[in-house]
């Protein structure tokens, strides 16, 4: 087997050195009747060529985003990733290293985490960011739990513009931890009054902008109300590129920010791995979950980096830890920070403007199709359309015509009377031809 360096002779020599009759001697603590006498009923070993052929076959059955006019978003976005990003994250020293618990030989990982934390803090307009979480939805759960710890209250109010999967994830955790969560009804036009929902038991309100329907929300008035009523404002985003163009949550008074960073540096990957971004005001530092990297000096007085404030974490505090999480999203965090470094401020702003321009153009084109209505007054690169038929069936018909036209709202919010709505996203990867093809396919499918 190509991955196993020991030869039969090696194995015999090693057994002799140990003084064991055979390898089964080491497994003698397994109750005899529970030991597997023979090989399990699964295929036997395959060459690299065979495995490659088999998996290529499976992959070829799927329609890749890059092979068609593609407008699917709703929490994950197709963007162009510079070739150097993927090259760099495959460097052995990044790819095959462990968590930087021995900082003297992990300065590479630690320094990029420090840079990442600084980038995320700047991007969100917050004081401090952690070394990343699993994804945006789990980061949102962590934000809610953190708000409960800070306020000593246990109820979260979830906006009707929060991604329904995020809301479901929070509800699952709330139910399991015995906390309360109130999810407001779907808020297609961003008209809900969240401030009125805050009562004495409310620890936090969770609001997304751009929201799941694409609307941009000014959180400043809500932040004022939260402050007055003693609740924390948790701002969520699923499209990190938007922060290159729209007011960041920190500038609107958010206490904690949780977001999805996939769209910078990371592929769609059918839902994972992604990278959760997490930032907060400095005064909540001790309650932040996950890893934090900090600057220090080594024995010769040279600058270096270490994981710090780790007494918050599970391996020290065990059942009193701020979170049970013991990983960040290392390589995805690296991909994010490399792509962000390549973009820089000028590149990010321009990328965001292109996204917005393409979405505006698409909205105008689709809105011109008879029977189709664009519902948003404001949006970044995603918006909601109303169609004169069932949205899910329409999306299937478009797929047959070779256009992946978006996400039917009924897939995220079944049984809510929103079956004629579709979420449509457009990024820099869409060409004018793609957008024209969509409008034409839509005309044909209606």
């Amino acid at each position: 087997m190509r991955y196993l360096p020991l030869t039969s002779e090696d194995r015999s020599d090693m057994l002799a050195r140990i003084g064991a009759s055979g390898v089964d001697a080491f497994f003698s603590d397994i109750p005899a009747e529970k030991r597997l006498a023979q090989t399990l009923d699964l295929p036997l070993r395959k060459s690299e060529m065979e495995v490659s052929r088999l998996l290529s076959g499976l992959g070829a059955k799927n329609t890749a985003a890059g092979s068609v006019p593609f407008f699917v978003g709703a929490g994950a976005y197709k963007h162009h990733i510079p070739a150097s990003v993927d090259h760099l994250i495959q460097r052995s020293e990044f790819l095959t290293s462990y968590t930087p618990y021995q900082p003297e030989i992990a300065q590479g990982t630690l320094q990029y985490i420090f840079e990442f934390q600084t980038q995320v803090a700047a991007l969100t307009g917050m004081d401090v960011a952690n070394a990343s979480m699993y994804d945006g939805s789990t980061a949102t759960v962590e934000a809610v739990l953190m708000a409960h710890r800070i306020t000593g209250k246990r109820k979260a109010v979830l906006s009707g513009g929060l991604h329904p999967h995020y809301a479901e994830t929070v509800r699952t955790f709330s139910h399991m931890t015995g906390d309360a969560s109130t999810a407001l009804p779907p808020d297609v036009f961003a008209t809900e009054n969240m401030g009125a929902m805050i009562d004495a038991d409310t620890s936090c309100v969770v609001v997304q902008t751009p929201d799941v329907f694409g609307n941009l929300r000014d959180l400043s008035p809500l932040a004022e109300i939260c402050k007055a009523k003693g609740a924390l404002l948790i701002a969520v985003f699923t499209e990190a590129v938007s922060l290159g163009l729209v007011t960041p949550p920190g500038a609107m008074g958010a206490d904690i920010v949780a977001g999805e960073g996939q769209s910078i540096g990371n592929s769609l990957n059918f839902g994972g791995p992604y990278v959760g971004l997490f930032a907060a005001k400095a005064r909540y530092l001790r309650q932040i979950p996950g890893r934090l990297c900090g600057e220090t000096l080594d024995a010769e007085g040279r600058r270096g980096f270490v994981l710090t404030l780790s007494t918050r974490e599970q391996h020290i505090k065990r059942d009193k830890a701020t979170s049970n999480i013991c990983t960040n999203s290392g390589l995805c965090c690296l991909a994010f920070t490399i792509h962000m470094t390549l973009l820089g401020e000028a590149g990010l702003r321009r990328l965001a403007r292109i996204n917005h321009a393409n979405a505006v153009d698409l909205a105008d084109r689709l809105g011109a199709v008879s029977g189709v209505e664009v519902l948003n007054k404001t949006f970044f690169n995603e918006f909601t359309i109303r169609v004169p038929c069932d949205g899910a069936e329409l999306i299937e018909r478009l797929a047959e015509k070779g256009v992946l036209g978006g996400v039917p709202v009924s897939r995220l919010l079944p049984g809510r009377g929103l079956d004629d709505l579709i979420l449509v996203a457009s990024s820099e990867v869409n060409t004018p031809d793609d957008r024209a093809a969509y409008a034409q396919a839509l005309r044909g499918a209606l």
Partner: protein, 518 residues
């Protein structure tokens, strides 16, 4: 003629000179500034054209103030991150004996297939009709995981081991609530040797954690578990093989007692690498167990993630699995995403359906090994750990006596005591020898623990050199050559770092230094 300038071709007297360099670089050991020090806001490494003028729809929410993000051109970017990478240890550069972490070889075939557009470039919410190959792959991988573990179902969503623990313990909580025992069964038993995630997971789900003391031989006593079990116990969380590198030999009795008491058995599968193809947790009576695809099934650790932690479930927990999940029926294979189709489901654990990128890698690993290769891998991992044990046991002490171990061998610091050196000192000296240290100070049940896991990926020559190095260090320690340890590491990119300083005055991001007076 060729050596006209009489350049010296031997090293001569130049060796052993300490030179202060202008750049602070030391030859190939290159110093590298932060992107905030070397980049500029107006520089970009991505060519993008400004869009044609258009009417924005931002409703007055444009971002106006500078963001504070430096940019680098592509060559500068490459150089920055390549230099950073060179400050890291990695499996590809050397043996990485971190106990409980299973730092095995990461095959590059896995990386290649995970990047096929049919896997990397598909969206979790594009029509299911356009991703049949992805669903098939998840189904195939699930089949392998269930067969290897002898379990009835598998929840694929969890994004890491700790997330898998949350998933399994939630399924247990849901099952208990379904039986109307949610109010009474509030205690979770876990041994002292458990990973910190176990008690942290149980506590965050509202359980009270009660510890099971370790027996003198490092394993859990079934009679003790039986004594602690009662109508108030929800579950027991046990790692097997345990974190001392030992197989819990009374596991069948423990599982039976747990089941008889109406509780559930959560097994931490972090150490599944030792028993893959040798025994099946399902046959041992386990109800739920997470598998770390990034340990046992070779997906890269990536400097701390991303992981993947699918959870296999027994029949009595299967109905409570999280959504979405795969279902094959008369209409073929599809993902069930709606909670109303799964009335007992514990709910949703994350936005989408799991770490697909990791699934492809793990599946490539399994297909490459086959059932026969996986069993061989487990045997080689265990053989290598025992080889190290048998080669060091005369110099280093073991907390539970010298007996065969599974895939990792545990030493303590009793043998170091007379030298005045600590486990940390010993570990740092290993760095100078070109090795990543083993896991230290874990598990907590051993004083000054040193947990060594070589994995199946090392050749005999590599193991022999590691053993010889460890012996040399151990003898140096015993001889009192403390200077080799106390100052270590000397040859790493950094000497020991001041963690106290970092924690007392946290600097967690770069800030522009105040202008210097001219």
């Amino acid at each position: 003629m060729l050596n006209r300038q009489i350049r010296a071709t031997t090293a001569g007297d130049s060796a052993r000179l300490e030179v202060e360099t202008f750049t602070s670089n030391r030859g190939l050991a290159l110093e590298e500034g932060l992107i905030f020090e070397i980049g500029r806001a107006e520089v970009t490494g991505v060519d993008l054209d400004e869009p044609a003028p258009f009417e924005p729809r931002l409703g007055g929410l444009e971002r106006k103030d500078p963001i504070g993000l430096p940019g680098l051109s592509e060559p500068e970017t490459l150089r920055h991150y390549v230099r950073l990478s060179q400050k890291n240890y990695s499996i590809d550069s050397g043996l990485y004996p971190l106990g409980s972490c299973t730092m095995k070889h990461n095959p590059r075939l896995n990386e290649a297939v995970a990047r096929l557009p049919g896997f990397a470039d598909i969206h979790p919410l594009q029509p299911q009709s356009t991703v049949p190959g992805a669903l098939e792959l998840i189904e195939d991988l699930a089949h392998w995981l269930m067969t290897l573990t002898g379990m009835d179902a598998v929840a694929m969503t969890p994004k890491a081991g700790a997330h898998g623990e949350v998933c399994g313990m939630m399924a247990i909580k849901a099952a208990i609530e379904a039986k109307g025992e949610g109010e009474t069964r509030r205690i979770v038993l876990a041994p002292d040797s458990a990973h910190g995630t176990n008690p942290a997971t149980a506590a965050r789900l509202g359980f009270e954690v009660r510890s099971i003391p370790a027996r003198a031989d490092g394993t859990v006593d079934a009679a003790e578990v039986e004594r602690l079990l009662g109508p108030d116990v929800a579950a027991i969380m046990l790692t097997n093989p345990n974190t001392c590198g030992l197989f819990e030999k009374e596991i069948v009795e423990i599982a039976a007692a747990t089941r008889n008491a109406g509780a559930y058995f959560y097994c931490d599968g972090a150490n599944f690498n030792a028993i893959m193809g040798k025994t099946r947790p399902g046959d041992l009576g386990v109800d739920a167990m997470h598998l770390n695809l990034h340990k046992t099934f070779s997906t890269p650790h990536g400097g701390g993630g991303p992981g993947a932690g699918p959870v296999v479930l027994s029949g009595r927990l299967a109905p409570f699995a999280p959504a979405p999940f795969l279902r094959r029926d008369e209409n073929g294979l599809r993902l069930v995403e709606r909670l109303d189709e799964a009335p007992y489901s514990l709910g949703r654990l994350a936005a989408f359906h799991g770490q697909m990128g990791m699934f492809v890698r793990a599946y490539a690993y399994m297909l490459s090994h086959g059932a026969d290769g996986l069993r061989q891998a487990a045997e080689d991992a265990v053989l290598s750990a025992n080889y190290i044990r048998a080669s060091l046991n005369d110099l280093m002490s073991q907390p539970f006596g010298d007996r065969p171990c599974m895939h990792e061998v545990l030493f303590d610091d009793a043998w170091l005591k007379p030298t005045g050196l600590t486990t940390l000192d010993f570990a740092k000296a290993m760095i100078d020898e070109g090795y990543h240290p083993m896991t230290i100070y874990f598990p907590l049940v051993a004083h000054g623990a040193m947990l060594i896991e070589p994995t199946e990926s090392e050749s005999k020559a590599s193991l022999d050199l590691f053993i010889a190095t460890m012996r040399d260090l151990a003898m140096a320690a015993r001889r009192g050559e403390t200077e080799r340890f106390l100052g270590a590491p000397v040859y790493a990119p950094r000497r020991r770092l001041d963690e106290t300083r970092a924690a007392r005055n946290p600097v967690l991001k770069w800030t522009r230094p105040p202008p210097q007076p001219v």
